[in-house]
């Protein structure tokens, strides 16, 4: 992986006042101008500068994308979409953790519930225009894995998404879903174009490795169009890794 030297890397965090003079002369090896003089990112929650010392100028680390967390509760007396609730949106690493730490673990949800984390603007349903030509990498868990594996695998999935772990193919990612089901829980990463073989396979390989699945474990990718017409999990795998 190409690691471009970033000017702030040397010597830790410098005061921006000191940096302004140097900046004009300081360029990255690629010849690009170095980043603008750093400014403290003010917290939208108004926390910065409240504690006195410099280090309390708390940093937020922006994510490449803003992500929306959705919660689905299976109430069969209501339409599917009426059971879908937006919990909140996050666009910094810190806000992600604030959210994650203040919601129920997936393994503690009741059966029939889902969490979904999707890029802002994409609804967690295959009908969305950015999902409908896509599909999902599906990880099916055995019943007993809810208490041993589910939370770890789901968190790893979330970190893959917000950290853009699939590099340039991360733009293919729409979101991820965890289904809590009596018959066995499922986790899936949704991508937007099932025909993008290179992107789908790259994502699948990286995802499988990040989950720490054994090489013997096979996970499959199914096009939403196939899943929708099958009405059960017999949809064929378009790809496997």
């Amino acid at each position: 992986m190409l690691a471009v030297e970033v000017s702030e890397a040397e010597g830790g965090i410098r005061e921006w006042e000191e940096e302004e003079e140097e900046e004009a002369a300081e360029r990255t090896p690629t010849g690009e101008k170095s980043p603008n003089s750093p400014r403290t990112l003010l917290s939208p929650r108004g926390k910065a500068r409240t504690g006195g010392p410099m280090e309390v100028k708390l940093e937020l680390h922006p994510l490449q994308n803003r992500w929306a967390l959705w919660f689905f509760k299976n109430d069969r007396s209501r339409a599917w979409q009426d059971n879908l609730h937006l919990v909140t949106k996050v666009d910094t690493v810190e806000d992600f953790w604030a959210l994650y730490s203040h919601i129920q673990l997936a393994s503690k949800l009741s059966s029939g519930c889902d969490y979904a984390l999707f890029k802002d603007g994409i609804e967690p349903m295959w009908e969305d225009s950015r999902n409908k030509r896509g599909g999902r990498w599906l990880v099916s868990l055995a019943k007993q894995q809810r208490h041993t594996e589910l939370d770890r695998l789901w968190l790893e999935t979330l970190l893959c998404l917000i950290g853009e772990s699939f590099e340039e193919h991360s733009r293919e990612v729409c979101g991820a879903v965890v289904n809590i089901r009596t018959k066995g829980d499922k986790i899936a990463v949704w991508t937007r174009e099932a025909e993008n073989q290179m992107g789908v396979l790259h994502i699948g390989h990286v995802y499988k490795e990040r989950l720490g699945l054994s090489p013997k474990t096979i996970i499959g990718y199914q096009a939403h169009a196939d899943t929708a017409t099958k009405s059960n999990s017999l949809a064929k795998n378009k790809f496997v890794v």
Binding site: I13, H61, Q104, S110, S111, G163, S170, N179
Partner: protein, 120 residues
């Protein structure tokens, strides 16, 4: 009339925006400017701009940030989700107080979740 709408246009050739990856292993490597990315470009407008990639160790380290300790503002009260003390027990509990979304009656959908059965 037989051709599709917009047939007057030549299909445009689209190409992916080229990206360059900058590996970040520590918070000090990040620009402090909210709109810049490591490497110093604005990704959203700059061809060849960088993508903000965080490895899992960095993300996990940030879990203990003071900024991550307080709940997000405007977190809706969803029993069993955002208020863990009141865990829902299976389907006994109504979710009618979720998000004020059900102040009016809803028609029951035909076939309930037939729209997207991904969970069987």
């Amino acid at each position: 009339m037989s051709s599709s709408a917009g047939s007057g246009h030549q299909p445009s050739q689209s190409r992916a925006i080229p990206t360059r990856t900058v590996a970040i292993s520590d918070a000090t490597q990040l620009p402090h400017d909210y709109c810049t990315t490591p490497g110093g470009t604005l990704f959203s407008t700059t061809p060849g701009g960088t993508r903000i990639i965080y490895d899992r160790k960095f993300l996990l380290d940030r879990r203990n940030s003071p900024m991550a300790q307080t709940p997000p503002c405007h977190l809706p009260n969803i029993p069993g989700v955002t208020s863990p003390g009141t865990l829902i027990e299976d389907s006994k509990v109504e979710v009618n107080n979720l998000n004020n979304l059900n102040n009016h009656d809803r028609k029951h959908a035909v076939g309930d979740d037939a729209q997207f059965e991904m969970d069987i």
